[in-house]
Symmetry: C2
Subunit: 506 residues, 2 copies
């Protein structure tokens, strides 16, 4: 038959994975501090906005806020906010909303009990064991995109996994977004680096979804992260991002980067109060600009090492702020973004335990979006192929842990206990034989063989095994189908915009 | 002066640690499954004890249980228990009690909101990067004892960190317990390997505490772990341990080792039902033997990899059973023991992430005793010096996380925000300068330097740094003071018992 005549690429033994699935928390979030303490943080953040205020570095923002009734200081960028104004304005932000992928089967939900996991984003360097550490480039960028698609537990790209500095900044967004759209069928992110880049990204996402503009504006399909410039500033491109994404009905994840002792007070209470002030002021601004625009409350409060100035991640302080950040977001009925981060320089025990601490802070705090879920190293300065595999293994275990356990009569297994009895063995029991193939989590990376076998086969660390796994995943990668008409429209748009020179860059 | 004339050993720069302190949970335990599901597990475990029963391999146990009213099958070791009998008998077990160290400042509490962390126990092999993996020996054993003493976050020895097979079994307990007593001033554990060993351990502990027998019997000062021989058996030496420790008012930690698919049903529900049946039957027996004897409900349900038969640790299944085990223990108002475990063959990312998963299962389930807290590798077949340091770092972070965070007016730092204002920097703020030295967790092992500095100084992994740290800790080790009269009495007792040949061994 003709179909069989077509040569199929020979596959190595497939890597075992958990299925793609939407994740929901099955226990309530942890209340680490009391409601009174949450109110104390809220009150402090309101006093900051009332007494100190925040700078909005764009006349359009100042005009929007002034029209809405905020206290804009004449001749300056300083805006002060009454607490009643803030509480009133943020009310129009939706508590949950869908986030559409071009493949409807990869659509996820933002907010409520749902957890969405992103790949690493925004690293200036990439590394693997073979090539070492190198500046970000387009080949690595696209390979990370392929892996984001191939690993089921990764649900979206939350930014460029690594910054491809070999692509000119004027057209980089066009090429990178095209890779997101063609190499993956999952939701993705566009940077807010000036209005025209936002507009290009919006049009490319609309094309990818194959829907008319009006429908696109009703269906969140693109996400941007808006970082405040702490303390208490919102920069020009971020303001343009808030305005353009909101007008198009798309998602802005408002995330102050409040490192205690550097860009925020040295106390966790103070840093959280400042985080809250910045997040709520920017969210209120987003709602003044476009009431009802989908936004997310982002928390990224950690601290610097006071001896060296280096940022610390995955520490007890970070655990505290990840959990308390969730308490704050829920006080305002907003979706919550947190992160999987670490400060290690290589994929070792430190990378794993700091990441685990971050993940458990996020899970206990009911993070709805996990940024930097897989691949982040060196406090974000490097995207590691091996770390991505280590993270995927850890996140697969979280995915499994979030599945309910059955306690029905058959699961309680009284018949098996009766059959086996005291001193017996369950390997051969009927109850076991019926279930053993799917009873337990089957790891992708963890090696449970005994020491002797492990030693005889080369004493590989998890990092060395991760290296083999990521390369096999790339070898086995298949691009998701894309409608030919959409592909054509996308190619034409990118070609035209590249020909026009993209956007003016510095 | 004479005192100054005594040469002091030159110390390298001291390793930074969190202080020795008792640890208390600050949030409620996680309720992973509903009360109805807990009742379903309870009901299944009661049906197991009513219908199938459990074997007690010792005539003394059978006599005690028969006298108490249990259904002992004539001419066999099988005992069936009515659920009313179980519920009635376990009521006399205390919900919490102190665990006395020979140094009163190292006494801890078992049960309630308290967490007590043990060093690794019972590994047949030891390893470090210099010497590789070797069979357990007395030199390694004593070095692990020194480290258990030196690391503040380790609160006790929960068994021999490594089995010193170069010491004859007939006298091993005498030498090892003497090391616990002389090299540490923290609480410790004695194995239940036949009545005479229990009696020797009890007398040595009484001597170490320097108290008369009557007072010793009122003050729990020694712990033993009682493992059931799953499924549904309690062996002779374990029974003797329950009897002798209970009579002396000392602590029995009753821990079924229920590996789903091997010694227990392949389902988590079934394995937990069997764990609960075995634990409660053994605890009821302990209370029949000595009403009011201090006992702990131990949970150690994991699964085997159904392809290889290898036990799995730190998996989603283990997380589930660690948390649900806590729900069960609290249903009976008993202290709860869980573990920090992993199946990795080396101190790599897998060792760290599986341990973290275990730790977070225990913390969310409010484990009161963390067995194998520091140093466990290879599913318990190896005690690793480097893994001990990695675990200590992870547990120090848990210790810090359990400390409350202040949200008072000074901590909220409004004055600092006013001083710094939008676009400023907090490094020089008065609020920062007053607090920066003690504001944040300062790691022992984690390296937060930038990549370039880290690379220039040798690109060490966390495991390589852990190697240096453990050796420095040993170099800096100082034995805790011990009263000369106690030391003399202890030496005399051990010398006499060694001369007598210790105990008969196989």
């Amino acid at each position: 038959m003709a179909r069989q005549a077509r040569p199929r690429r020979k596959k190595s033994q497939a890597i075992q994975q958990v299925p793609w699935r939407r994740l929901k928390y099955r226990t309530p979030p942890v209340k680490l501090i009391s409601d009174d303490e949450i109110e104390a943080v809220h009150d402090a953040s309101m006093r900051i906005l009332e007494e100190v205020g925040m700078d909005f570095l764009h006349p359009e923002a100042l005009a929007i806020l002034k029209a809405a009734g905020a206290d804009v200081t004449e001749g300056s960028e300083r805006v002060r906010f009454d607490r009643a104004f803030i509480e009133e304005k943020i009310k129009t932000a939706p508590a949950q909303f869908p986030f559409h992928a071009r493949n409807p089967e990869r659509t996820v939900g933002i907010g409520g009990d749902e957890l969405v996991i992103c790949a690493v984003a925004s690293a200036p360097n990439a590394s693997d064991l073979d090539g070492g550490r190198r500046p970000g480039n387009f080949v690595d960028f696209e390979n990370f995109c392929r892996l984001s698609q191939a690993f089921n537990v990764i649900q979206m790209n939350g930014g460029y996994p690594v910054e491809p500095v070999d692509v000119h900044p004027s057209v980089r967004h066009l090429h990178c977004l095209k890779s997101f759209i063609t190499l993956t069928d999952k939701p993705f992110h566009a940077y807010s680096l000036g209005r025209q880049r936002n507009l290009d990204a919006l049009e490319m996402t609309r094309i990818a979804r194959g829907v008319p503009m009006e429908r696109f504006h009703r269906e969140p399909s693109l996400m941007t992260v808006i970082n405040t410039s702490s303390p208490l500033r919102l920069d020009t491109p971020m303001i343009e991002g808030v305005i353009e994404m909101g007008r198009a009905g798309q998602i802005a994840v408002i995330t102050p980067f409040t490192l205690a002792g550097a860009m925020a007070p040295v106390t966790l209470a103070g840093a959280l109060a400042q985080q809250n002030a910045e997040a709520l002021a920017a969210i209120a601004f987003a709602q003044c600009s476009t009431p009802g625009a989908p936004v997310v409350y982002g928390g990224f409060t950690s601290n610097v090492d006071m001896k060296s100035g280096a940022p610390a991640f995955g520490t007890p302080e970070f655990l505290n702020t990840q959990i308390i950040g969730g308490q704050l977001a829920r006080r305002y009925d907003l979706p919550y973004r947190a992160s999987n981060v670490n400060a290690s320089n290589c994929v070792d025990a430190q990378a794993a335990y700091e990441s685990q601490m971050s993940i458990w802070g996020l899970v206990q705090g009911h993070g709805n979006i996990m940024k930097h879920g897989a691949g982040w190293l060196e406090g974000g300065l490097c995207a590691s192929f091996e770390k991505m595999v280590v993270d995927v293994e850890m996140l697969q275990m979280i995915s499994e842990f979030l599945q309910p356990v059955s306690f029905d009569e058959a699961s309680l297994g009284l018949d098996a206990v009766r059959e086996v009895g005291p001193g017996g063995h369950y390997f051969g029991a009927a109850h076991t034989i019926e279930r053993y193939e799917t009873a337990f989590y089957s790891p992708m990376l963890s090696d449970w063989r005994n020491f002797e076998t492990w030693e005889e086969t080369g004493s590989e660390t998890a990092t060395q095994r991760a290296n083999r796994i990521y390369k096999q995943m790339l070898q086995d990668y298949e691009a998701p189908p894309l409608d030919a008409a959409i592909r054509e429209e996308l190619d034409a748009f990118v070609a035209k915009r590249v020909e026009e020179g993209g956007v003016a860059s510095d």
